[in-house]
Amino acid sequence: MRKSLLSLALLAGLATAQSGWAAGTGNIYVSSEDDNAVIVLDGQSYARLGEIETSDRPRDLRFNADRTLIYAACGEGDAIDVIDIASGEVVKSLDVGDDPEMFDLSPDGRLMFSSLEDDGLLGVYDLEKDETIAEIEVGEEPEGVLAHPDGKRVYVTSEEANLVHVVDVQSGEVTHNIVAGNRPRRFALDTGRNELWVTNEISGTVSIIDTEANAVKAELSFEPKGFRSEDVTPVGILMNGARDTAYVTLGTANHVAVVDMASREVRDFVLVGKRAWGLGLDRAEKRLFVTNGKSDDMSIIDTASLKVIKSVPVARVPHSVLIDD
């Protein structure tokens, strides 16, 4: 399962020119589902620095706490790869179960919760013991996973069952099944308001779940100009640090919705590439990165003006993006 860096020589050369191949260099990492690689771009010029070969079909990406590692869920590789940022190599492949799609880490960074899409399971992997410690049965096609910062709860969507499951970390039990819209996909959490936002791809909405009551309290819909409601297929969602703005990718409607979180009003729609899914923000929250799965590129949006400043070709079916600035 261990992968080596294919274009090491190229990377080494470029990395020198780009003030070092290390964490915090401002590089951008994009997983490509069909090229079985994580693509590395320069964070300012967006020039392609190289690619890190991974297990098959990499999708969700996450940093570890100190940003020395990137975890990449590789669905068809049946593993979560561990990429060492300094060396730009996959140093380990974690055997988390079959077909991991999305995942999250416990607040202490020890447990990795991953949706195992084919088997309808939430896998719990202990990164210290290096083994799966539990597999919890959930509805078919689990996708979005979010570990609550309280360390007690994990949320997981079932795309098939149209449910959000609340899993108690201690007991491994599903404590609540919250009825969502159709094909619930991904999450963002606002602990200040006790709100868990979940995108519903087929019903074209975002459900806002009250995390105390474990029930949906509001629903958002989107009407970008020139598209019918059935074209609106929300998937990606990201909130800024202040939790005043949420970004929602609208899939086949080729737009990102910018939502004012307090009023729940859509402030703007930004036209991006085809089938926009993945989202990433830089630390300063000045640039929003959007992966477009059907145009194989990434749109970069200036968050102040809400204009696309650049579209960059990336690779086949770009999925997730991380900015290591």
């Binding site: 597999e135 149209n162 499951h165 087929i202």
Partner: protein, 404 residues
């Protein structure tokens, strides 16, 4: 549960212990719940001697034809719905009724209704569907046609309590028509079957020709066999001489059609019942969650999922979806939700689906399949409709024969 334990036991004793703990917790949670889950009962009515479902035909794996009984599809959907059921406190039950003769359909339907099956899947040819309709008049039933493609069931023989999850033949032919227009392959040679079963297919194709302005350059009838006196009608090379862009073969059972590709006199693509075939599901579709559904189906039914299986599956999906939204097992409430424009059905082909109010047909995309791949999904980009692009396929609100 046994299967689940075996699965877990591969992970070692620690996992097994955890699994047992989880089971105990689940049992406790179950005991704590006051009410027993309410039952939603589905019936499945089929005909043992149905000529569409012979072992030889299953083994032939003809495109656009059934590869097994659609009951396998509904079983997968109900299993998939188990978490939904738990969430809203209902359980789904499936009762199978198979008749030996079509004239036993009314009695079998009555037996199902008496057992509380208000939702009945009809896996019958058009004649059987009509006989079930007559028998259902005085009963509270919602019938789902899962396998009869006849346009007449969506037209003059339609009924208020009859829904169709299989597409009409017309929808399939419209999808093909859109594809031909999008490729600018308008000049056609059409090979028509001569059996009674081929005639509705030919009529549907003719409607698509009219709708999409295709040009039929030549039209010939084919027969099965190798009688040299009939060679003008049974020899593919002789049948396919001419000046055209595409050969269309219209063969409802597909037995002749499969001999046509690569045997044409002119080097021309073959579409219709062989070559590029319109179908409403395909095992190679790799978007919209289809790979997971295909894997689940393959695991349960030990074969690839066909359009017919999808028709069965989507009935289960619709009933599970309705129970999630109305949070009840009440038949009238479930039926009303299924019939309403509020229904949002995720058919794993992209987009939302619901039933056309004018004839009970499920709106759905159609795939143009080419062996081991989906070449295109209709509605094809550019084919637009005033309200819903899915309505560019099949009979429209202002163009149908259904009075119900």
């Amino acid at each position: 549960m046994t299967e689940r334990l075996q699965q877990l036991s591969r992970g070692g004793p620690a996992l097994l212990a955890l699994a047992l703990l989880t089971l105990c917790l689940l049992a406790l949670a179950g005991a704590a719940r006051a009410a027993e889950p309410a039952q939603i009962t589905l019936g499945y009515l089929s005909w043992e001697e149905d000529p569409r479902y012979t072992e030889a035909r299953f083994l032939a794996r003809l495109p656009g034809q059934p590869w097994g009984r659609p009951v396998d599809g509904v079983k997968v959907a109900l299993r998939d719905g188990r978490f939904t059921g738990k969430a809203v406190g209902v359980e789904y039950e499936l009762i199978d009724e198979q008749v030996e003769q079509l004239d036993e359909v009314p009695a079998a339907l009555a037996r199902l209704a008496d057992k509380g099956a208000n939702f009945v899947l009809l896996d019958l040819p058009a004649e059987g569907v009509r006989s079930a309709l007559q028998a259902s008049a005085d009963r509270e039933l919602l019938l789902f046609n899962v396998s009869a493609l006849d346009d007449s069931l969506r037209g003059e023989h339609c009924a208020a309590n009859l829904l169709h999850t299989a597409p009409s033949q017309r929808m399939l032919m419209d999808a093909l028509g859109q594809y031909l227009v999008s490729k600018k392959w308008r000049e056609l040679l059409v090979l028509d079957g001569t059996q009674a079963i081929d005639q509705p297919l030919i009529a549907s194709f003719d409607a698509a020709v009219k709708r999409y302005g295709l040009d039929v350059e030549e039209r010939r009838e084919f027969v099965l066999g190798s009688d040299p006196r009939q060679r003008g009608r049974n020899n593919v090379a002789l049948l396919t001489k001419g000046d055209y862009q595409v050969a269309v073969v219209l063969d409802a059972l597909g037995e002749f059609a499969r001999e046509v590709p690569y045997q044409t006199l002119e080097p021309r693509p073959v579409v219709g019942s062989a070559g590029l075939v319109p179908d409403w599901w395909h095992w190679s579709w790799d978007r919209n969650g289809a790979p997971q559904l295909n894997k689940r189906f393959l695991k349960r039914a030990k074969r690839h999922m066909s359009g017919y299986d999808w028709s069965g599956w989507v009935v289960g999906k619709a009933i599970v979806e309705a129970s999630l939204r109305v949070k009840s097992s009440d038949f009238a409430a479930l039926r009303d939700h299924i019939l309403s424009a509020e229904l949002v059905l995720d058919g794993f082909k992209g987009g939302r689906m619901n039933f056309r109010p004018w004839n009970g047909q499920l709106r759905q995309p159609i795939f143009l399949t080419a062996g081991n791949w989906v070449a295109a999904r209709a509605p094809i980009e550019g084919f637009l409709h005033a309200t819903n692009d899915l309505d560019t396929l099949g009979a429209n609100a202002d163009d149908h024969q259904c009075k119900r």
